[in-house]
Symmetry: C2
């Protein structure tokens, strides 16, 4: 008898993939402009490091490198803003409401029953957990979701076509796989490129024809800075005037988290948005396997319900991302890389 499960015994986590090998190399020998100018630069990392722009990201137009400086200078914007916001609102970190401690209330609070006010939303400990729970709701082991490739880290010049979708679907069928849906990341992680309306419409038509789900991971939706082109899958379906009783609505699911747009991966806050009541009910029950710390919920509900803070943040974040991108492009271009 096999003592452990195949999951535990196999090596499908991808820790031997070039992505993780790159990480290991970077950690052994990280680039530093002065102390280690020949070190490795981590370019495959999706992390919100926007802040203190002047002096953070610059280009050493020399031998082999684009650098970002010593990480002690690098400072995600949300964190800069958040720290000053927290200084103005000391009760929030102190776990107080109107000056009185809510420590007890928070310590005992378990969010097993979901949020009655937001009937489409399920809170979980990060988008990894959100994606896992959604998959448990939508598919049996051995069923398939189509994923556009290359994905992470991917290529900039990449569009979903009807042909590619059909080919992938046929290929899955040849492998005797029951295709349950398509999973897209829009905007792309980590590239930030967005799917245009034509692509989204292709997806929608495909999901209608094949009677399958669309899972749209929109974890970077607040970070789009270059254009007004970002369109959520929900908007795209709405704009098609698809009747709200159409069964497609129940097959559209969205994943979001505060790790990327807000730069808070350590706090583990992810969510599922779905129109399917059964999915929401099941995912809410499953959320026991990865609830968000009540301490963190208290901090973030207070911080994010301050609209002045959030709108200032979103605006500033986009501005800085844009400048960063321009700096990177011009640096690369100066080094002869287009």
């Amino acid at each position: 008898m096999q003592m452990l499960s195949k999951k535990a015994a196999c090596d499908s986590h991808g820790q031997d993939s070039s992505y993780f090998l790159g990480w290991q190399e970077y950690e052994k020998n990280p680039y530093h402009e002065v102390q280690n100018p020949n070190g490795i630069i981590q370019m495959g990392l999706a992390e919100n490091q926007v802040g203190k722009l002047s002096g953070i990201l610059f280009f050493v137009l020399a031998i082999r490198t684009i650098s970002y400086s010593d990480s002690s200078c690098s400072f995600p914007l949300i964190l800069l803003n958040a720290e000053s916001w927290l200084a103005d609102n000391p009760d929030v970190l102190g776990l107080k409401r109107d000056g009185k401690s809510v420590f007890k209330e928070l310590a005992l609070f378990q969010d097993y029953r979901g949020m009655p006010t937001f009937k489409n939303l399920v809170l979980v400990a990060g988008s990894t957990s959100a994606n896992e729970s959604l998959m448990f709701c939508l598919a049996e082991p051995g069923e398939a979701f189509l994923l556009p490739t290359p994905y992470y880290p991917g290529s900039n010049d990449f569009k979903i076509t009807g042909r590619a979708l059909e080919d992938a679907y046929e290929q899955a069928k040849k492998l005797n796989l029951n295709v349950k849906g398509v999973l897209v990341t829009n905007p792309s992680n980590p590239l930030g490129t967005t799917m245009d309306r034509d692509e989204l419409n292709l997806l929608i038509d495909f999901a209608i024809t094949k009677k399958i789900h669309i899972v749209s991971d929109e974890i970077y939706s607040g970070t789009v800075f270059d254009s007004t082109s970002f369109l959520s899958i929900i908007e795209a379906v709405t704009d098609r005037n698809i009747d709200d009783t159409h069964e497609l609505w129940n097959r559209i699911h969205m994943v979001y988290s505060l790790s990327k747009d807000l730069g808070l991966p350590g706090f583990r806050v992810g969510m599922i948005y779905s129109n399917d009541e059964t999915v929401v009910a099941a995912a809410t029950k499953m959320s026991s396997f990865g609830l968000v710390s009540s301490q963190t919920q208290f901090l973030l509900t207070n911080m994010l319900s301050d609209k002045k803070f959030t709108s200032k943040y979103i605006e500033e974040n986009r501005k800085r991302l844009k400048s960063r991108k321009e700096m990177l492009v011009s640096g690369l271009s100066g080094a002869g890389i287009e």
Copy 2:
């Protein structure tokens, strides 16, 4: 084609069980000594509500009821102690180290790689998550773990016997189930009763003979107050002088959490202890699906590394639980219930 998975579509969460129905009834009509003396009393709840003893738990030796008072008086001990500890250590809630903010560091910290210093330990978002990950590591869908019944809420006069174990094993085999292990909760949740050395030895012999795992959920191990009888499965195996190269060691796994002993269910901190390196490695990777908030890790590592605080807490907790139990027993006895 079935659009949702069987997991999502079925109703195996037990929300229709008498346990959850009892909860619903309690929530619709909760007992209050003055405002609702004929209301329902929730007796099936495993929650650390020890604190402000005098005046909290008392017995209305009348019509139908044992009551605990208005929940605003009830106050888990850890929280009382914790609040005064936090008042003495303001930097901890304020996310500061030596007066300097560590907000940024925490916000970006993701604990994907586990704890190199504690090679047997995996941290996850609560013991629910710990049990799930362990099961994913130890069994395939369709394989079986034996569970002593009645379990939750169970009976006081309950012992594991060799006969019961053999019977359950044979019954599983007749159902064509591959038995991978036994799962016990010791001390019992929510009764607090402990397994004695004979029971643990029976379990150990059974696991050796059948070559199966033992998963011991010891979430209440810090709450035992009545005797010195609590013995962890790890101690029981150690006391048998089983050679540390014996394969049994790799099949002993423990689950713990801070929800019960420390009364912090809202903070979602659970853990797996295992001697099997492959299980630890796999569970560490799986922990991405339910990591502990870094904000909460910072608070608790500071609080729990204060040994004066923790030892005072454990002692005081036991003392109060014991008084509470004596009060309950004498109240029930006065009402004619033995």
